[in-house]
């Protein structure tokens, strides 16, 4: 029987680390360790003697792992960067998803692939969630600006809320712009005039 692979995930963001660990556990039987705190990273990673290390591609701490990957003292196990060198597509998919993997020499490519696939999928999912959250925030912001613009129009022209919104929408359509943009201009202009 093959020894279980040991995976270290380095991620200071608990909200992301959790789902990634789940994804890895669904993909197979692995020992997964999470490192949340970046100080003294090299010795923490070495202590786990991992077969594979996963880390956010953009994490400044990656440069620390690059050094570990190059260490080749008699007691260190050589680490190859990324996956099996022949699999350029998987490498590219990982870079695009924003995950980088460090794999100890001698771990077979077919054992690495399901782990990478799971990590890539979770990283993508997390990116999407983050993009959605940002979009929701922006929408809420815009909602507030539109409400303020309506209030300004209602006061300035003595009209009802519904008419104020109709006026905003008509202006936006006439100018080929978004309601939010017109509202923003009204709020800004009112700030200057009043």
């Amino acid at each position: 029987m093959q020894k279980r692979l040991s995976i270290v995930l380095i991620d200071p963001d608990e909200h992301r680390a959790g789902p990634i660990v789940e994804g890895l556990k669904e993909a197979g039987e692995y020992d997964v360790h999470v490192i949340l705190e970046m100080t003294d990273l090299a010795s923490k990673v070495t202590a786990f003697r991992p077969d594979i290390v996963l880390i956010d591609l953009a994490s400044p701490s990656r440069d620390v792992l690059e050094e570990l990957a190059l260490a080749s003292g008699p007691l260190d196990r050589p680490v190859a960067m990324f996956v099996d060198h022949s699999d350029e597509q998987l490498t590219r998919a990982a870079i695009e998803a924003g995950v980088s993997a460090y794999v100890v020499d001698g771990v077979r490519a077919d054992r690495v692939k399901p782990i990478l696939d799971a990590a890539i999928a979770r990283f993508h999912m997390f990116q999407r969630m983050r993009a959605e959250l940002a979009a929701t925030k922006a929408a809420l912001e815009e909602r507030k600006v539109i409400d303020r613009a309506k209030a300004i129009l209602m006061r300035a022209r003595g009209i009802e809320e519904e008419q104020a919104y109709a006026l905003l929408r008509k202006t936006a359509m006439d100018q080929g712009r978004r309601v939010g943009d017109i509202a923003q201009q009204i709020v800004m202009a009112a700030g200057l005039l009043i």
Binding site: L57, D63, E66, S100
Partner: protein
């Protein structure tokens, strides 16, 4: 006119200035380029994004493409360094305990004598010395290795990688005893009271090439016109930056929240070469602390690629001849000549030379007329002969 967009990766450091200035002051636009500047957190990320084609160009540590060329990185498409973007800008710092022992020993922290500083350090450091550098393959690592070896240090030195923004914390927490990193991080550590600055990089090596413009080889071949325009934009931004009158403005622009996001006063120290070396407020004036243009600062000598490769060959047991050749092949003096000749850049007669042989600015024959070369001597008189110059 519609602008051609270049996705440009930079790591937020003072020496990212040529890219940021080219974008902000219109040097890129003059060449019909719009720089889509992307802030990058790690050198490995910059290399990977460039390799995967997710960025078109990168502000990168000079030895990093050399490491790729000699096979010490992941398998990615070949990348070339087409010009240097900066020289110098590094400082060596020690922790407060070592600083106190150096002072007790009578060391004056004059900040420019690498021999005296190395000897003093040798006397006060007993046992291991851990030194932080930003990346395994960096000019900082070359400077530190060379200086410590030449000062009589040996096995007890451990060079460790620490991301620059964490350097002050690392020395404060005792993870390292000393470090060598580019501005503004040495000044940041002094400001935090975590370290005292001992030397500039230039005190060890008068012309340490620090960052380069790195592109994929297939990009330079498929888009020669764009490559040339990008190089000229960087070169003119560097010329603007080397006017001392512009350095203050440069600091203000660099420190904006979406770039370095630091107080401009901090970046200004490096840019003006007026460094505060200790939290007691002692300052040192270092002329030419960082250069972006002057005296052929941007010319990517192939012999420098061989110099950086030499240590990689030694440390990693590589086959010397093919490794040096691959290293020299990725410094594209041919593209430099082709694309910067029209802008009026001084072009040296040769692309290889003995490194470390010039100790004062020297007038030499150029492709046309004459030009001045920067001094590039090492503090201990080291000379490096590239393989094919012998």
């Amino acid at each position: 006119m519609s602008m051609e967009i270049i996705r440009f990766g930079y790591v937020p450091l003072t020496d990212a200035a040529p890219a940021i200035i080219a974008h902000e002051l219109g040097f890129a636009a003059e060449e019909g380029l719009e720089l889509d500047l992307m802030r990058i957190g790690a050198w490995a990320q910059s290399r990977d994004l460039l390799g995967a084609g997710l960025i078109d160009a990168a502000h990168m540590l000079v030895p990093l493409p050399v490491a790729q060329a000699v096979g010490l990185g992941p398998v990615l498409p070949p990348m070339d360094l087409v010009m240097f973007l900066s020289q110098g800008g590094q400082a060596v710092a020690v922790n407060q305990d070592i600083a106190a022992r150096l002072r007790a020993e009578g060391h004056g922290f004059n900040f420019n004598n690498a021999r005296a500083a190395g000897q003093a350090l040798r006397r006060v450091v007993r046992g291991p010395l851990r030194v932080g550098v930003p990346f395994r393959f960096s000019t900082q690592a070359e400077i530190v290795f060379h200086w410590l070896e030449a000062s009589g240090f040996g096995e007890e030195v451990r060079v460790v990688t620490i991301p620059p923004p964490m350097m002050a914390d690392a020395i404060d927490a005792g993870e390292v005893d000393a470090f060598c990193v580019g501005e503004p991080w040495p000044s940041f550590a002094v400001e935090r009271g975590a370290a005292t600055l001992l030397l500039t990089g230039r005190a060890i090596w008068m012309s340490p090439p620090e960052k380069g413009l790195v592109l994929r080889r297939d990009f330079t071949a498929a888009r020669p016109d764009t490559t040339g325009r990008l190089m000229r934009a960087m070169w003119r931004a560097g010329r603007w930056l080397d006017d001392p009158a512009n350095r203050g403005t440069a600091a203000d622009i660099l420190c904006r929240p979406h770039y370095l996001d630091l107080p401009p006063e901090l970046a200004e120290r490096g840019l003006r070469g007026r460094l505060m070396i200790s939290s007691a407020g002692e300052t040192r004036q270092c002329d030419d602390f960082i250069a972006f243009h002057r005296d052929a600062a941007t010319f990517p000598w192939k012999s420098l690629a061989a110099l950086f490769a030499a240590r990689m060959i030694r440390n990693h047991g590589l086959d010397p001849a093919p490794a040096s050749q691959a290293a020299m092949d990725c410094f594209r003096t041919d593209l430099y000549r082709e694309h910067l000749r029209p802008a009026g850049a001084g072009l040296p007669g040769a692309s290889l030379r003995v490194e470390g042989a010039i100790d004062i600015p020297r007038l030499v024959a150029a492709e046309s007329g004459q030009m001045i070369l920067r001094p590039d001597a090492f503090f201990d008189g080291r000379l490096f002969e590239p393989p094919s110059a012998t």
